[in-house]
């Protein structure tokens, strides 16, 4: 099982200028912020279920950037229909990485549907995102990097990871207007 925080940090190590990163509510945002403060990050701290449609809107509006969304299985399960929307309104510059720990860790580690019978890769494939795959080993790191920076998306990657509570790492601001304006300022074209 992959340890999510160092894995997120590894993916973002030496990130390229054309990458913009969004994270869904909860641990994904703390993971993203743990990789270092960056004006090209926007982290959700609420509005569960909205990070996937947000990433779609951003990817549509900024075709010259590679858009990467880190989110969790809980956030994704709340917005499964948005995967179908992305499949049918495709954007080539979007990669979704679901950090799937099969658990609502922040609320007391209750199991999510992916701890049971539900497979998010199959849901994405069945929704029509053909470039969907599951990663269970850190050895697949390079495959992910190729997807994020080079492959035609939309792409949907499920990273199976440990259900382990990690320290909170706060973003630059909890004020959404500060966060989004700073993020917007990082994009020129």
């Amino acid at each position: 099982m992959i340890e999510r925080r160092p894995f997120v940090q590894k993916i973002l190590n030496n990130r390229k200028d054309n990458l913009r990163v969004v994270s869904g509510i909860g641990t994904s945002t703390w993971d993203l912020m743990s990789a270092g403060d960056n004006e090209g990050n926007f982290g959700f701290i609420g509005a569960m279920g909205q990070s996937i449609p947000f990433a779609l809107g951003l990817a549509k509006a900024k075709p010259n950037y590679r858009i990467l969304l880190f989110t969790g299985d809980g956030d994704t399960l709340m917005s499964l229909g948005s995967i179908a929307t992305i499949a049918n309104h495709p954007v080539s510059n979007l990669t979704i990485i679901v950090l799937d720990n099969e658990s609502y860790v922040e609320t007391g580690s209750q199991p999510t549907a992916t701890a049971g019978k539900t497979d998010l890769e199959l849901i994405a494939k069945g929704s029509g995102i053909s470039n969907s795959y599951t990663v269970k080993s850190e050895n697949d790191y390079q495959k992910i990097m190729t997807t994020v920076y080079e492959e035609d998306g939309p792409s949907f990657i499920v990273v199976k990871c440990q259900a382990k509570a990690t320290p909170l790492v706060f973003p630059h601001s909890f004020d959404g207007s500060v966060s989004i304006n700073r993020f917007m300022g990082s994009m020129k074209s």
Binding site: Q50, P53, G57, A61, K62, H89, S177, F183
Partner: protein, 175 residues
């Protein structure tokens, strides 16, 4: 002038063009269909069919982060699906515009439409959305224009309720 050119949806489309709205998402409603058709014929407007209305809130906010103006079209029944999502444009001060075709308020045939129809303005106001309303065809263009400018100029959320009196209530027939 053709019949469709006189339609009040053309006035909404004209506002979209005037104010550079280039992303239009929707869960379709018959009341919006002529507008959706106009937008789909326009290569400068990206039309996204959603599976649930709340995704249009996130989509609009993401498009705004990327520098594009958008509008979400939905029926009043969809407003309830959006409540928590509306926290996103609120806390991020994203200009969010939605146009809501009303059901359950004027000559409605289907009783199941009434609860959310009655709740729609209250729910929107409870989430700090500025609510505009158009009851007559002649005022649609100016009302949508005012709501859009309110949203885009003040970085707040605005909704226009398009009344069922204006749209017309469909009377269903069994068989």
């Amino acid at each position: 002038m053709t019949e469709i050119a006189k339609d009040w949806r053309n006035d909404i489309y004209a506002v979209f063009k005037d104010l550079n709205v280039t992303v239009v998402s929707h869960v379709p409603d018959a009341g919006h269909t002529p507008l959706i058709n106009l937008c789909e014929k326009d290569n400068e407007i990206d039309v996204v069919t959603l599976t649930t209305e709340q995704d249009g809130v996130g989509l609009s906010c993401g498009a705004y982060a990327g520098g594009k103006r958008s509008a979400l079209l939905m029926q009043s029944s969809g407003v309830g699906n959006c409540i928590n999502a509306l926290a996103l444009p609120n806390i991020c001060r994203v200009p969010f515009l939605t146009l809501v075709s009303m059901r359950g308020e004027w000559g409605e045939f289907v009783p199941w439409q009434v609860p959310m129809g009655l709740g729609t303005p209250k729910v929107l106001e409870a989430m700090d959305i500025k609510v505009f309303r158009a009851d007559y065809k002649e005022e649609v263009g100016s009302t949508v224009d005012a709501a859009a400018r309110f949203a885009f100029n003040t970085n707040r959320s605005a909704a226009v309720l398009l009344s069922q009196k204006m749209i017309g209530a469909k009377q269903f027939k069994n068989g």
